[in-house]
């Protein structure tokens, strides 16, 4: 995280601290001063922030390294949810693997692997011939998102699926100031923090991480140093798609699987990447948590005082507009 602590980012850190304090204040008011209610709102914000991070981190790293805004990232999130749901609920799988926790774990592995394989196919098969034509790439990823969404509707119908086959871990609750909160959601938050740390370590402490960070700055120079940048592109694109599919499958037990979940997360993730600073990993991590917290707080406030839930869904875009008005390059983006 040395990047965000640099002197040029002090202004951004102050904005982040100010926004968090403001959101926590609003959250406390919306909870009517009830610590339990307030705590649940904050945890819900962290839960949503972590799911957003899983879509936005791939979007951000892919954009930073390859200059591709992958509009299919939301579709990979949705695909992860459907594949995970289908595997976990398939009668044949239930018979073969009666242990529900194990089945869920395998569903996570399978959905992530499917996301990764389709990521490789998209990058190598469709995007690679278009590296000289960036506009075509954007149109292509948009088209792929539409095709994936329609394919999912074709195979699984447009009926939303909610997770009916429960598993032990999913059912647990813990109490916070007298309020019950799902241990599964806490698990997702923990997984999110572990992934934030793991990706940061990958970027900071490994050779491939150094190559990715260098490639974000100048991929031509990286190639001129003897590194096959196209292979790195494939790896990063695959990782981004796998992360999105992983996010979808771990969100599915709570959010279910619906054919519009991809677009909803994609739009919020684009807002996260823009407000965090295009291509900045740290900006994306902080932006995800900020947007997640804002959505949870606004949802609580709107339900309590405005009786209009629409405010929560437009919150990511509103927050992005506010941040970009104050800081046009995003919180931790680099000056062009």
């Amino acid at each position: 995280m040395q990047g965000i602590l640099a002197a040029e980012n002090r202004h951004s850190l102050l904005i982040v601290i100010g926004l968090v304090a403001f959101l926590l204040g609003i959250g406390f008011v919306a909870a009517g001063g009830d610590l339990g209610d307030f705590g649940i709102t904050v945890l819900s914000g962290l839960f949503q922030g972590m799911l957003l991070f899983l879509v936005a981190s791939g979007l951000s790293i892919i954009f930073g390294l390859m200059d591709i805004l992958n509009f299919a990232q939301g579709a990979y999130f949705m695909l992860g949810a459907y594949v995970g749901y289908a595997f976990h609920h398939a009668p044949a799988v239930i018979t073969a693997i009666p242990n529900r926790d194990l089945r869920f774990l395998l569903a996570v592995v399978l959905a992530t692997a499917v996301g990764a394989v389709l990521g490789v196919i998209l990058e190598r098969g469709l995007l690679r011939p278009l590296y000289a034509r960036p506009i075509f790439q954007i149109v292509l990823t948009f088209g792929v998102a539409l095709v994936m969404t329609e394919a999912i509707k074709f195979f699984w119908s447009t009926t939303p699926y909610s997770w009916t086959e429960m598993f032990g871990f999913r059912e647990g609750f813990f109490e916070l100031f007298g309020q019950r909160f799902s241990t599964y959601r806490l698990f997702v938050i923990a997984v999110g923090f572990v992934l934030i740390g793991a990706i940061a370590l990958l970027l900071r402490r490994t050779r491939i991480g150094i190559i990715i960070r260098a490639g974000v700055e100048d991929s031509e120079m990286v190639e001129a140093l003897g590194i096959n940048v196209r292979a790195v592109f494939t790896l990063v694109f695959t990782l981004g798609c796998a992360l999105a599919a992983f996010g979808g499958v771990i969100a599915a037990p709570f959010l279910g699987a619906t054919s519009n979940m991809g677009n909803a997360f994609l739009l919020a993730a684009i807002a996260v990447v823009a407000l965090g600073g295009m291509g900045s990993y740290e900006g994306t991590a902080i932006g995800s948590l900020l947007v997640g917290l804002a959505v949870a707080v606004v949802a609580k406030f709107a339900t309590q005082y405005l009786n209009q839930s629409v405010w929560a869904s437009i919150t990511p875009m509103l927050l992005m507009v506010v941040v970009l008005l104050v800081r046009p390059r995003g919180l931790f983006g680099k000056e062009e």
């Binding site: 990047g3 050779r207 150094i210 190559i211 960070r213 260098a214 974000v216 700055e217 100048d218 031509e220 120079m221 990286v222 190639e223 001129a224 140093l225 003897g226 590194i227 096959n228 940048v229």
Partner: protein, 239 residues
């Protein structure tokens, strides 16, 4: 393969290079003898940088031949050309500003311990880099960044270094230090240099090729060129 070819580490033969629709190089030939410092001279926009980029495969030529140790480079990707033993120090240095000096050097390793093995040589040439080892590249001065860019090209024990405008924008005292370093490194590595500063070029190089409006027009020994004031004035505007 002729005897001449074997003595030359690099031979560029009649290359033509386009950037978009613009025909930048229209028949450029350069020979770089093993162990020499060869300089490409010419006015701004003559095609010197494009020649280096064509050798590296960054703007590949559409016609002509480039041979390195007798092997053709045409059609190869830049990473493959670099792996064959060519280091590139581009104009404006292209230092990774977010990476520390250490990371800028580590990324250039082709084998796990390249930097360890070459550290004495590199820090012998550029002792300042040792002191700046943990600073981000973006925090370095122009001269320090140039030293880092050259050091980065030395990590992998390349047989040929392509160095583009090393003196650009640097103070005279730093240019002197760089000249000493290039002279010292040329004992181990052949150098193809692009340099606008004729004084620096003439003091460093053994051989020259003049590129004018996308054509290579003259080549020979630097000792002969410095005697020919009229030629220098005609092609380079320097006296």
């Amino acid at each position: 393969m002729t005897e001449q070819t074997q003595a030359n580490l690099l031979e560029v033969r009649g290359i033509h290079t386009f950037i978009g629709q613009f025909h930048i190089l229209e028949d450029v030939s350069v020979t770089v003898p093993q162990g020499s410092i060869t300089v490409l001279l010419g006015r701004n926009g003559a095609g010197k940088t494009t020649t280096l980029r064509s050798i590296m495969g960054l703007t590949p030529p559409s016609r002509g031949e480039i041979l390195f140790q007798g092997q053709s480079l045409v059609g190869k990707r830049p990473y493959h050309i670099a792996q064959m033993g060519i280091g590139y120090v581009p104009e404006h240095r292209a230092i990774f500003s977010e990476l520390t000096v250490r990371e800028n050097l580590e990324i250039a390793q082709r084998q796990p311990h390249d930097l360890e093995k070459r550290a004495d040589f590199i820090f012998g040439l550029f002792p300042d880099l040792k002191r700046l080892y943990h600073l981000p590249g973006g925090h370095l001065s122009g001269g320090q960044q140039q030293m880092l860019a050259i050091a980065r090209a030395l990590v992998a024990n390349n047989r040929l270094l392509l160095i583009d405008e090393p003196s650009e924008g640097l103070a005279p005292v730093i240019i002197e230090q760089l000249m000493d370093a290039i002279r010292a490194l040329s004992a181990q590595t052949t150098v193809l240099l692009v340099e606008q500063n004729f004084r620096m070029a003439s003091q460093l190089a053994d051989r020259y090729t003049i590129i004018d409006d996308g054509h290579s027009v003259m080549a020979g020994s630097m000792a002969d060129l410095v005697q020919d004031r009229a030629l220098i004035h005609h092609y380079l505007g320097a006296a």
